[in-house]
Symmetry: C2
Subunit: 303 residues, 2 copies
């Protein structure tokens, strides 16, 4: 498949996910911004605000191209003949949804394709869940569904990509994970006996699984009651989400440092976040229970 | 003066500033945490919460020491004989205050001293102001008072350090300054005909000016009325403050990446911050006027 076919499929994925979210949250209004990038390409940013389920979020498509910056080759550790100018092409869909209810998790998904004029290409992406309150059964459901998606393509995918997500969605300065993880993968190409078609079929399956995965989390939590205590905790957890995205997320950092479209990149930030010095949840509280589970290496499937 | 004398003076400065802030805001309660660093040294973190003027803030003292990491020598571009192990000593006072009122500015100050066992040493620091609403006369007062502090020591200090602050307290991904700047300086040593004592006297003068500088801003703004519109704008501006500190502030980044004390470093974050996609102030509003002044190179003294 060509970059054009991949690009078109990602555009359709954005459409399908927006439709699916509209079914889940009839009050969610998408605001669309089309933007162009001076150096080449552009995007279709779709923002949700004040839905009955989703308080703030975005479903973004972009496809950008241009000359490959020399320092980017270094960052990516790509060894190539640089006597010829190299161009790149990158396309993908990125989603972050912050729900109104502290009982409903924040979700993030990204699927992307990257290629260079020197012939190198790869797919990357992932889905991860950040419950404000971790429910073991819902965490198990989430990971089971991700495992099903992965197992259709390779039995190594789930264990490998689950571990990768644990390591990626981690906040070193807090020594805690962002949430219950999920899957993360990068640089999937035609090595290790895989064909491009096989990688692409997997990436498509990940993209197509998104609405179903999140709808399950929403439907199981949307009727749960909460009070100001849960809302306060949600804002503190959103603060940690901000810390991860602004300090550690490679995609965000890269975007902000290379003159990306700021408002599209920072659609991932919550509507509101709080910070309290040395906040510690009460012993044995639900908040403390969640905090104790923000660790790498938990086998959520065994709960 | 020895590192011990400098350290003790910084400790007294912390005490004096806390007393001064207590006079300004009788309801401000300081919570003190003493902490030790495994590798050597420690600090005295003092946090304010829910004062009548200050909603959240910190006045932190620290003095840390240990082996100089090789990558830090690189970052600092220090060329030295590394066949011998090098140790470092760093001490200083850091302050960030987030007021309740959107009409009162956020303030930040840092004064610090750094030395290495190879004989290199320098002072650094700065004071900058982030009004949620820029008032030209109060901005002028702030810069005039800083210029007075600088002019007592060298006529080049204010213009040089004002420009440095414009460049340092800048948010590239927003193409705006954090606020109205102030002064910023680093690596002040005994080159260019200055003695260590002269540099130290200047740093002390900066530290001693803090309470007076901020008291003026507070006293001129604390009676001003505001409504939910101003509070909403304050939260958006606090969002930008978070973006600067987590994405661009070298001190914050360095601290978080080198296993500093997270809660002391992140005392600089506001109690609450908001993000709205593509928020644009109404034309000719006070918010739009402030936004238009978040630029480098403004001569606030001429207003």
């Amino acid at each position: 498949m060509t970059k054009k076919e991949i690009t078109n499929w990602f555009k359709c994925l954005q459409d399908n996910i927006c439709k699916g979210l509209k079914d889940l949250d009839a009050d969610a209004i998408f605001h669309e911004d089309l933007w162009k990038r001076e150096e080449g390409g552009g995007g279709r940013t779709r923002i949700i605000n004040n839905g009955s389920i989703i308080e703030k979020g975005g479903v973004n498509f972009s496809s950008v191209e241009g000359d490959m910056p020399a320092n980017l080759l270094k960052v990516l550790k790509v060894e190539t003949d640089t006597s010829q100018p190299i161009t790149f092409y990158a396309t993908g869909v990125s989603i972050v949804l912050h729900p109104n209810s502290p009982m409903t998790p924040i979700i993030h998904m990204n699927v992307r394709y990257f290629e260079m004029s020197n012939g190198l290409w790869w797919f990357g992406g992932g889905i991860d869940l950040t419950p404000h309150y971790i429910d073991d059964l819902l965490a198990k459901d989430f990971h089971r569904m991700l495992k099903n998606v992965c197992d259709k393509h390779h039995h190594d995918y789930y264990p490998t990509f689950k571990k990768w997500a644990d390591n990626y969605f981690f906040i070193p300065h807090r020594n805690e994970t962002r949430g219950i993880g999920g899957i993360f993968f990068d640089r999937l190409n035609d090595t290790n006996g895989f064909s491009k078609m096989e990688r692409w079929n997997f990436v498509k399956e990940v993209g197509n699984s998104f609405v179903h995965l999140y709808a399950h989390q929403v439907n199981q939590t949307k009727e749960l009651k909460y009070s100001s205590n849960e809302l306060n905790w949600q804002r503190l957890r959103r603060g940690r989400y901000v810390e991860f995205n602004l300090v550690w997320d490679r995609g965000t950092k890269f975007g902000l440092e290379t003159n990306g479209r700021t408002e599209s990149i920072l659609m991932s930030l919550p509507p509101q976040a709080n910070w309290e010095y040395c906040y510690t949840p009460k012993i044995n509280s639900l908040e403390a229970q969640t905090q104790s589970k923000l660790k790498k290496g938990i086998n959520w499937l065994s709960n």
